[in-house]
């Protein structure tokens, strides 16, 4: 950190707090369990995804992927493919349009690309699976056949594909998502060596694939010097700026629409396929649809990287920590910036007299890894929370009691005040719900026939984020309806439903009168759906737009209105209009204001203020994950029989959709714990299981009834008191399962996934 950064951070803490959102406690619309507004469309198959947009003269693309991890294309034979029926174009590095490299996500403010490599611009190969040829044909069948006729010869070079061999070359990156890659407080190694109780182990987590059910797809057409892009993206504006830069277009000539995303989980930004499809469409002069095959999703879009982590805990007899060490290495490439921030949980969770938190990366030749649901926190909590369980065992302490003794007064790494932290309350409520007091602390003590039964618990944690740069508009009509717009995203989180609720609350309207528009760059500037930030980003922008709207309505109301002479601060929105806070009868409805002003509508737009709250406070969500497993003592098979997630995530906006978000995270966490593993051949750099038949995700029979509860205590420093909840659910689950497996079997598995071979 530079001196300027440090001074800036200190100065920020001195800025007075903004007044809390006046609607923090409101419960007219917020807090109601509404069913999804897009439910009827989704259950009838009428929700139209990006692969389903019809175009006249539409043609189809198929892609060939490299079979080596590093080297050059020596020759590429395309004649036979070109002669195949229906083929319009065979595109390779030899004839692709010249295009600059796409701007990289998180590095370039306009970037959505998962990799900074130029796309199909020369003969060089950077990973096994890089696209080397695209065929465009009249039908998908013709394109699929023709691409099989493309023959490539390679000059292979030695590739960096063996993590175990290369990890000695690991180094600290410049920073980890803007945070220091190393935090050292005191001499943690010395304190560890001197501590009476020590835990010091290595934990390993493998590569994962997001495996969203919808394949990556773009339907793109060039129209009047610009492009219209129907893409399954969770960042429409960043996708627009990325494609604008690659194709040398003004941003306003690129329109990106993404009304429904069939699962994203961090993976649906820009990869090479959007660039290739758009270039191919330009060349053939027709709209192109490119749907990646499931194999293509594994080869050409990134997943979560692998990590090797060390957690060392030095404790005193009372359990308090003399030393907390969390270090490790993640695989990355030299063309992306996603170091998998697995040390972040340890930066905020526990009081310790000394700390050493350090992340390193090792560059590999592989498809650029990327952000996947709770990047860092998901696998970091596996290591840290397994180690905490090991420490509790070594101290003969209940693991919940241990966490109580380690609760910090301030953020241990930054020294900031917590904005809202009720982790121990989540533990208390979760323990009650789960029946934690009935657990037998002795491992391998609970047996039911061939099944060993065990329970485990772990902490969940994920930061609060609100993204800068979002704007929203509110349109009020003469009929008293509102349309609220922001180019945000619905990947299943419930955005369309929940944001209609929050806007209805803000406007004092029934939710049926409010529509939330999103997923289109023609709307006010949206922020990405990532980092569990979207709800806070939207609510803050709508709040800003509403402030402008109220002023505009006061002007329109004029001197003949009961509102004459009142200031915005005197007013509250309710019953379809604005009313005096202290004289409830004094006010006027929106319909009446617009009618007198002879207006058919009023539209106001504003940008959200900068997210200063994130600089002033340590803002995080928390949870306690309770798991019961049954482990077959003959086969080693693990079945999850019970699960309770107890969360501390600020205000919950819609219990029905929120419960689904929590459960969804937990279930992906069960996959992480027990089965998910992208198998990477360390000799060839080839992903060996690029299909949903071989990359296992939890299926119905793997998923028990999952109980989720929440504190529902608002954060006084966030819009509506909310925290985003898309990612917290997956955190802590890996450790909760591993700790339960230990309790059931006496076997401590530190290497995910916990497959049956590890328990035999």
């Amino acid at each position: 950190m530079t001196i300027m950064d440090s001074l800036f951070k200190k100065a920020v803490r001195l800025i007075p707090d903004k007044a809390p959102d006046p609607l923090i406690g409101a419960e007219r619309q917020v807090g109601r369990s509404l069913s999804r507004v897009d439910g009827p469309l989704k259950v009838t198959g009428q929700a139209r995804f990006a692969a389903e947009v019809p175009f006249k003269n539409l043609v189809y693309a198929a892609t060939k992927y490299s079979a080596i991890a590093r080297g050059r294309i020596a020759s590429i034979e395309t004649e036979e493919a070109k002669q195949a029926p229906g083929v319009l174009l065979v595109m390779t590095h030899e004839n692709a349009p010249r295009m600059p490299a796409p701007p990289l996500m998180m590095k370039d403010p306009k970037g959505a690309s998962g990799s900074s490599l130029p796309v199909m611009q020369d003969a060089s190969i950077h990973w096994n699976g890089e696209p080397v040829a695209v065929v465009v044909a009249e039908t998908q069948e013709q394109a699929d056949h023709a691409v099989s006729l493309v023959r490539v010869k390679y000059d292979a070079q030695p590739a960096r594909t063996d993590f175990d061999r290369l990890k000695s070359e690991a180094h600290e990156p410049e920073n980890v998502l803007g945070e220091p890659s190393r935090i050292a407080i005191g001499d943690a190694e010395a304190a560890l060596a001197a501590a009476p109780v020590r835990i010091d182990n290595i934990y390993r987590t493998p590569r994962h694939n997001h495996a969203a059910m919808e394949l990556h797809v773009i339907t793109v057409a060039w129209q009047e010097g610009g492009i219209i892009v129907h893409d399954t993206t969770q960042m429409v504006h960043l996708t627009r700026s990325t494609l604008a830069e690659v194709f040398g277009l003004p941003e306003e000539h690129v329109r990106v629409l993404s009304p429904f995303v069939g699962g994203g989980f961090g993976n649906k930004g820009v990869w090479s396929h959007q660039v290739l499809a758009t270039a191919a469409s330009q060349v053939v002069g027709r709209p192109v649809r490119m749907v990646l095959s499931r194999e293509g999703v594994f080869r050409a879009t990134g997943g979560r990287t692998l990590t090797e982590q060390r957690v060392a805990l030095g404790a005193k007899a009372d359990g308090t920590l003399a030393a907390l060490i969390h270090t490790g290495i993640a695989g990355m490439t030299d063309h992306n910036d996603c170091p998998e921030q697995f040390t972040f949980p340890a930066r905020h969770l526990y009081a310790a007299e000394s700390m050493l938190l350090r992340q390193e990366i090792v560059e590999l030749d592989m498809v650029a890894n990327t952000f996947m649901r709770a990047p860092g926190e998901s696998v970091g909590t596996f290591a840290l929370e397994s180690a905490m369980d090991e420490l509790a065992e070594a101290l003969s302490l209940d693991p919940i009691e241990l966490r109580g003794r380690l609760e910090p007064a301030k953020d241990p790494a930054s020294g900031l005040t917590f904005s809202a932290r009720h982790l121990l309350e989540a533990y208390r409520r979760g323990a009650d719900r789960f029946g934690w007091d009935k657990r037998n602390r002795v491992p391998r003590a609970a047996i039911d026939g061939d099944w060993l039964i065990g329970q485990g618990v772990a902490t969940a944690t994920y930061p609060y984020f609100r993204m800068p740069g979002g704007s929203a508009s509110i349109k009020l009509t003469a009929e008293g309806d509102a349309v609220v717009s922001m180019a945000s995203h619905e990947m299943g989180m419930g955005t369309a439903t929940v944001q209609a609720q929050t806007a209805a609350e803000r406007l004092g309207l029934p939710v049926e009168r409010v529509t939330f528009e999103y997923g289109d760059t023609a709307l006010p500037h949206g922020t990405l759906a990532g980092g569990s930030s979207q709800s806070a980003s939207i609510v803050a922008a709508v709040m800003a737009a509403n402030d402008v709207l109220v002023k505009e309505l006061l002007k329109l109301a004029g001197n003949d209105s009961p509102l004459a002479g009142l200031k915005p601060r005197d007013l509250e929105a309710r019953d379809g209009g604005l009313f005096h806070r202290e004289h409830p009868a004094r006010g006027e409805t929106y319909v009446s204001i617009l009618k007198r002003a002879n207006r058919s509508e009023v539209v106001c737009e504003a940008a959200a203020p900068q997210p200063m709250e994130m600089l002033k406070y340590s803002m995080h969500s928390y949870g306690a994950q309770f798991c019961e497993v049954r482990v077959n003592r003959i086969t080693g098979e693990v079945r999850v029989s019970r699960f309770v997630g107890s969360f501390d995530t600020g205000r919950i906006l819609n219990p029905k959709t929120a419960a689904s978000q929590f459960r969804g995270g937990i279930i992906m966490g069960l996959g992480l714990a027990l089965m998910e593993h992208t198998l990477f051949d360390s000799r060839s750099g080839r992903i060996m299981n690029p299909s949903l038949a071989e990359y296992h995700v939890p299926v119905h029979l793997d998923v028990p009834a999952i109980d989720v509860i929440w504190n529902d205590i608002p954060d006084p420093h966030s819009p509506l008191g909310l925290h985003g909840i898309g990612e917290i659910g997956i955190t802590g689950v890996g450790a909760a399962v591993a700790n339960a497996v230990y309790n059931a079997t006496g076997r401590r598995i530190r290497d995910l996934p916990i497959t049956l071979d590890k328990l035999l």
Binding site: S35, R36, D38, G39, P40, L41, K42, V43, T44, G45, Q46, A47, R48, F49, A51, E52, P54, T139, Q140, E141, H145, H210, A211, A212, M213, E214, L215, F260, V261, G262, G263, F265, V291, S293, R294, M491, G492, M493, G494, K656, A659, S660, Q661, R663, G664, G665, I666, I667, M668, S691, L692, A693, V697, P698, V699, H700, L701, D702, V703, A705
Partner: protein, 169 residues
């Protein structure tokens, strides 16, 4: 070739390589049936053929000439929902909605298998004709339909409420 799709007779010429899924989506614009893997591993493309559930991505369209095919569009509409579609909304049995049509078609086909007494891997008594749609039986039979958002609990509740309201949870 003639197909009966959602009670409508359709007559068209097609590429013999075309899957039933691509026929529905690309030729007939019945895009409610989804492509999730195109290799029979995810169930998103499930449709009913003469009442039985199949993965339409693994089916060549030409094999189904003359068959009665029902897709999600044939089960109900937004204004006139099938009982199971209504239950999916009520129990929040989906998030992104991409696996949803396949889950619903699959569950309708599964209910037929239960009525016909077709056993599964978890059926205790292989001789019985009266299979109870228990929690395990239901989850086993729906395990070919993947959901990545993690809506499993809501899906199971919706199916149970619709087809086995008296079964134990």
């Amino acid at each position: 070739m003639k197909f009966t799709i959602n009670d409508e007779v359709i007559d068209l010429t097609l590429d013999p390589r075309m899957s039933l899924l691509d026929l529905l989506r690309e030729r007939l614009h019945l895009t409610g049936t989804k492509k999730g893997c195109d290799q029979g591993a995810c169930g998103a493309c499930t449709v009913l053929v003469d009442g039985e559930r199949i993965n339409s991505c693994l089916a060549l369209a030409v094999q189904y000439e003359g068959c009665a095919i029902t897709t999600i569009e044939g089960l109900g509409t937004a204004g006139d929902l099938h009982e199971l579609q209504r239950a999916f909304i009520e129990h929040d049995g989906f998030q992104c909605g991409y696996c949803t049509p396949g889950q619903i078609c699959s569950a309708v086909g599964m209910a037929g298998e239960i009525r016909r007494g077709v056993p599964s891997a978890v059926t205790g008594d292989l001789e019985t004709d009266a299979i109870d749609l228990s929690h395990d039986e239901l989850r086993e039979r729906m395990s070919g339909n993947l959901c990545r958002c993690g809506a499993h609990n809501g899906i199971v509740q919706a199916i149970q409420e619709t087809f086995a309201p008296k079964a134990k949870p």
